[in-house]
């Protein structure tokens, strides 16, 4: 398994080179002059514009600009943000934890709520529970994160006054309290998809012969559901969750700016709006690495869940 993981990681290097090259090119092809935007809407002198262009490394041909960037990036030097005047590495280190917490909480919610809901629906097929679950899933899948977040703020912060409307809080307990609304808003779609996937996977497994056999042997229903059915149904569910984490990253962008949580998501949106090339390049690279690791982790997890899967 270790050998397999190492091979997968080595195979990721060309992907990273390709992604960094494309990102580097795309941000420069997008309209908008970073120097004008940094000094946005204010009076500037031509000398300062020239000087900033120089400082930002925007002079010379693009290929040598790219090579210079790669040369520094392999030493983990991603340069300084145009707009925020901070080291990109420092910025990402400061912003990453919030986003990771948000995503972790959402995934946890999806697993803890989505899977049991799906199991219950499959078990009580076409019952009131099943219809109610499907309805909730329907709402969850079709509500955009931005909308869910605003509704959440209105209901829980403005009307009921039980949760804060925005911000990140002081101290662990307060921070957790501040994460509830955004994490739920973010997780809603994922809970819905996870429950739907669990339901259909469970339905398929529950009609298999080996379940009949287990029932015939007189095993308790709980053992049949959890040990036999769910374990077999988990592989497609896991795949969906792992894919969904990608969408969660997109969701964090919206949730973070709506709820004033300064995570990686809002850093990236700001950077794209401000044409802050160094921040965009480094963040996209980081996301690529995270996706590669996530995919690898999911593949390895398959083997844990299903002993028939072996990597050599």
């Amino acid at each position: 398994m270790a050998g397999y993981a190492v091979r997968r990681l080595l195979a990721a290097i060309p992907t990273l080179i390709f992604v960094s090259f494309v990102t580097f090119g795309l941000v420069r092809l997008a309209p908008g002059d970073p120097v004008l935007i940094v000094l946005g809407g204010k009076r500037i002198s031509p000398e300062l514009m020239e000087q900033l262009r120089e400082k930002f490394g925007l002079v010379g041909d693009p290929i040598s600009q790219y090579l210079a960037w790669v040369g520094r990036a392999v030493q983990f030097d991603f340069g300084e943000s145009f707009k925020l005047r901070q080291e990109v590495g420092d910025l990402i280190v400061a912003r990453l934890p919030t986003t990771v917490e948000l995503i972790a909480m959402s995934v946890l919610l999806a697993i803890l709520l989505g899977i049991p809901l799906g199991v219950l629906q499959a078990r009580r097929r076409e019952s009131a529970v099943d219809y109610a679950g499907s309805f909730v899933a329907f709402i969850g899948v079709s509500s955009p994160v931005y909308f869910t977040a605003i509704i959440g703020i209105l209901v829980f912060a403005v009307w009921l006054g039980v949760l804060p409307a925005f911000g990140s809080g002081d101290g662990p307990v307060d921070q957790l309290r501040h994460l509830i609304l955004p994490a739920v808003a973010l997780a809603l779609g994922m809970i819905a998809l996870t429950s739907r996937m669990t339901r259909s996977a469970m339905l398929e497994v529950l009609t298999s012969d080996f379940i009949e056999a287990a029932r015939a042997k007189g095993l308790p229903e709980r053992t049949i559901l959890v040990k036999h059915a769910l374990r077999n149904a988990l592989i497609p569910v896991l795949t969906v969750i792992s894919l969904q984490v990608g969408f969660l990253v997109v969701g964090t962008v919206l949730v973070e700016s709506t709820m004033g949580l300064g995570g990686l998501g809002s850093l990236i949106t700001d950077a794209i709006q401000n044409r802050d090339y160094p921040v965009i390049q480094a963040s996209v690279l980081l996301l690529t690495v995270l996706f590669i690791l996530l995919n690898l982790f999911t593949d390895l997890l398959y083997a844990v869940i299903d002993p028939r899967i072996r990597y050599t």
Binding site: G41, M49, L84, D90, V158, F166, S266, R275
Partner: protein
């Protein structure tokens, strides 16, 4: 030598201006106004984006100043409703008759937050630092006419200009003249002003921490040098970053936001006014929104076309819709709030200035006379779609033009395109909705950037690409004068020429909104709030 400490005698109470409550955030109805300020408590202010820095050299926007101007302070400051200059870290200053030498007396006994004394050496260092092209300060241009800064003795700093510059004095009240500690800045190097290092100054509040993307925290400076006339009172200020306008409004409602300057969404004023716990007030501004076009390209190189478009625009209707109670505009960017000297002369000039009130008949007639009206058909009007009023201006303009039988298409732009259009090469828009606010309480702060031909090149702020040699000569000449009456005369002359040429359709002069929770007292903003130390006299009642 001229006296610089003229007492402020006249309020800016002209016409509709009176509806503005400059003194924002007075105690809420029911509370006695004489209530004495209370020490302590904390306050949450909100800004819409991550600040650039807490280094004053890079504070030239609407979000960085809340923290920066509380930490470091300028040599002199804007006062009297931001129309005059008052002493600050410099207790007095004089200007030589030729306007070339500024002699400042630096206050004694002022300490930086680390306990060290502020010296003339720090003052000289601070000004030289901003002037240093190596630093690339965003406000460096303000000190462009400075030739030399020296400290002849322990309490005097002498600034020598290479040429007289009427606007230079104002620069001394901006972030370009904030005094930083030489020792601290040199020790921090390039990290000065970043979240990891922060900043140290002489101001009423000290830098505590800055969590990137989340918030900045400040604490009261108990050793503040100027406690006689008020605060600082607050123990702690938290400045939170919240990009989403809807959430900002919700935060005012729930009481999580105590203080919101400028970033109250303009389409939500009525909602915010409806909150029991929030006071929304407006301060006069030197800011306006307008429509323009490239005056060097056909058909806008034809003065009749430009005047026709001005007559076609329903400026009064737009003001009533988006900025009820704000001052009327005329064909100038020198709003009555900006008559900071020679007010009578400006008033007399205003009375005869054309307003181009909407008159579709006149517009039609002028278009017919121009003979090039058909070129307008199918042109686009570009605007930044996220600003409700700019969208409104564009839609109203399209509607008015259609009444003249001319089709104008909407071209919604992103922020990046908007910036590129206003400050770019003038080749990427037909008609453009833009905005500008003066950096200084001086009419030329709006005339020269927008109408001086030296600002046409890329990066420049003359979005109309307007070039009139007579106007240029007047604008350049007045800038070299010390005598304010003479300056006013030349500026008024330039204003009249510009009004006749109609390079730009002046639509509005909105006020700056300030929303505060009703437990917040002593919160006041003026037209130049972005240069001001906002929290010194603010206190909260529990």
């Amino acid at each position: 030598m001229m006296s610089v400490l003229s007492p402020w005698q006249r309020r800016l109470g002209v016409g509709a201006m009176a509806v503005f409550a400059v003194a924002a955030g007075l105690p809420a109805a029911g509370l006695a106004q004489s209530e004495t300020p209370q020490m302590g408590g904390s306050l949450v202010a909100v800004i819409e984006g991550e600040p650039t820095s807490v280094d004053p050299a890079f504070d030239y926007d609407f979000v960085s100043g809340l923290a920066t101007s509380s930490i470091t302070e300028p040599l002199i400051k804007f006062c009297e409703g931001d129309t005059q200059l008052c002493p600050n870290l410099a207790s007095a200053w004089t200007v030589s008759e030729d306007g070339l030498t500024y002699t400042l007396t630096i206050r004694d006994g002022v300490k930086f937050h680390d306990g060290s004394d502020m010296t003339v050496e720090d003052v000289v260092f601070s000004l030289d630092r901003i002037r240093d092209p190596e630093l690339g300060s965003y406000v460096g241009w303000m000190l462009d006419s400075v030739a030399d800064v020296t400290a002849p003795d322990d309490s005097t700093v002498v600034i020598t200009l290479s040429q007289p510059d009427a606007l230079f004095e104002y620069a001394l009240a901006s972030t370009a003249a904030h005094v930083v500690s030489k020792a601290v800045v040199e020790a921090a190097g390039a990290d000065y002003g970043t979240p990891s290092v922060g900043s140290i100054g002489t101001g009423p509040f000290k830098f505590v921490e800055w969590t990137s993307g989340v918030q900045q925290k400040l604490a009261r400076n108990d050793d503040y040098w100027n406690k006689e006339d008020g605060g600082p009172y607050l123990d702690e200020i938290t400045i939170k970053i919240l990009p989403e306008p809807t959430t900002r409004v919700a935060g005012l409602d729930t009481g999580e936001i105590d203080y919101l300057v400028n970033n109250v969404p303009s389409d939500q004023y009525a909602t915010v006014e409806g909150f029991d716990n929030v006071n929304l007030t407006f301060a006069p501004s030197f800011y306006g929104e307008w429509i323009t076009f490239n005056t060097q390209e056909a058909p806008f190189d034809n003065v009749k076309v430009r005047q026709a478009l001005n007559y076609a625009t329903d400026k009064a209707g737009l003001r009533a819709l988006y900025w009820p109670g704000t001052p009327d505009t005329k064909a100038t960017l020198v709003y009555p709030s900006m008559w900071t000297f020679e007010q009578d002369a400006w008033q007399a000039a205003w009375d005869v200035l054309p307003a181009y009130d909407q008159d579709l008949e006149k517009a039609r007639q002028l278009l017919d006379e121009s003979g090039v009206a058909d070129q307008l058909n199918g042109m686009t009007i570009s605007y930044y779609e996220s600003t409700p009023s700019m969208k409104g201006i564009a839609e109203s303009f399209i509607d008015s033009m259609s009444q003249l039988g001319i089709t104008i298409e909407a071209n919604k732009t992103t922020y990046q395109e908007n910036i590129a259009q206003q400050f770019g090469n003038h080749d990427d828009y037909d008609i453009f909705v833009g905005s500008w606010g003066s950096d200084f309480p001086d009419p030329s702060g709006n005339l020269r950037p927008n109408f001086g031909s030296e600002n046409i090149a890329a990066g420049g702020s003359n979005a109309s690409a307007y070039s009139n040699p007579d106007v240029d000569a007047l604008l350049v000449e007045q800038n070299a004068l010390v005598d304010k009456a003479e300056r006013a005369k030349l500026l008024i002359e330039a204003q009249a020429l510009i009004a006749e040429d109609s390079p730009l359709i002046s639509v509005s002069n909105p006020g700056w909104p300030l929303a505060v929770n009703d437990r917040v007292h002593g919160a006041e903003i003026g037209p130049l709030w972005y240069w001001a130390s906002l929290f010194k006299d603010v206190w909260v009642s529990e």
